[in-house]
């Protein structure tokens, strides 16, 4: 039963990937929709970023002094200035670890 559900979930996931690429002709989309699609990265990724920072493993909002908020702010500043992905991730992690292992320990 679980195997069957995984296969169905896999087919469903594949369809989410394939539908717009293979089945929908881009000419079917109007100019306005194409202009709006320019915003897709900015419109999608914060839905992954915000809950991962502001909501904990138990589905509750975190405190405003949570180390994750600090880590995210550092990552934003370093990322903005350095334009470097590795620097962004490492700086966020290190500042987060600094708080949880050194300050709050």
């Amino acid at each position: 039963m679980t195997w069957l559900s995984i296969i169905v979930a896999g087919i469903l996931t594949y369809f989410t990937r394939m539908t717009m690429i293979a089945l929908v002709n881009r000419k079917m989309l109007g100019e306005r929709i194409k202009a709006v699609l320019e915003y897709v990265p900015s419109a999608v990724f914060p839905a992954i970023i915000f809950p991962a920072i502001f909501i904990n493993d138990y589905g509750a909002f975190i405190e405003m002094n949570d180390p994750k908020i600090f880590g995210a702010i550092v990552a934003i500043i370093v990322g903005y200035l350095s334009k470097n992905i590795i620097a962004t991730i490492i700086s966020g992690l290190i500042s987060y670890w600094f708080l949880i292992f050194v300050i709050f320990n």
Binding site: T2, R17, A47
Partner: protein, 228 residues
Amino acid sequence: MLTKKKLFTRGMMDISPHMLSVIPFGIICGAIGVELGFDPYLVYAMSFIIFGGASQIVFLQLLSGGASSLVAVTSVGIINSRHLLYGAVLSEYLEKLSFIKKLLISYFVVDQGFAESNKFFKKNKTEQHLHYHLIGTGCTMWVCWQIATLSGIVLGSFVPEELGLKFAIPLTFIAIVVQDLKKIDHVIVMITCGLSSLLFFDAPFKSYIIISPVIALFVASLILRLKK
């Protein structure tokens, strides 16, 4: 004109920094599946059949929490529905490919791959074999994801939980959007999406992950109308 090989390598290079967060996350995903008591073969098969990070964990957590298969499958479908938006954006650059190639390449569309390939495509619209960049990002992600989840399944969670490495996931996505903070219209769209995701976090089937982009894109269309 860049060769196919160069484009593929460029795709690999462009996505590889993200593996810093993808690999620990994959290990955690594999380990969680086994800890929840699922057959290791089944946990691994998901990386191959579904190939979609967060949705795999949610699927197993729902089932082990007693949810029906229907609920688990629906949640995976909804979480992954964001790929429809990636496909809509990418289709512009993949138009000329044959139907079969489109079917094959679709399997490799992932968040970070879409983000990096889309950035590259925008700057190199005239290149002829652009899709090799997407194959490069997708294959790199695929190989790393298979190895990472597999090592999590076999070795257990050897990444200490205290390190909180799940936090690397939002950081990876911050790295993707951070340069767009220069543009006020993008900032508005991002904040709309972020706040909506918190507001609708408890919506059924994890649907906040597609509700908030839809709201944010609606706001984007309003901004475009005001701009004219």
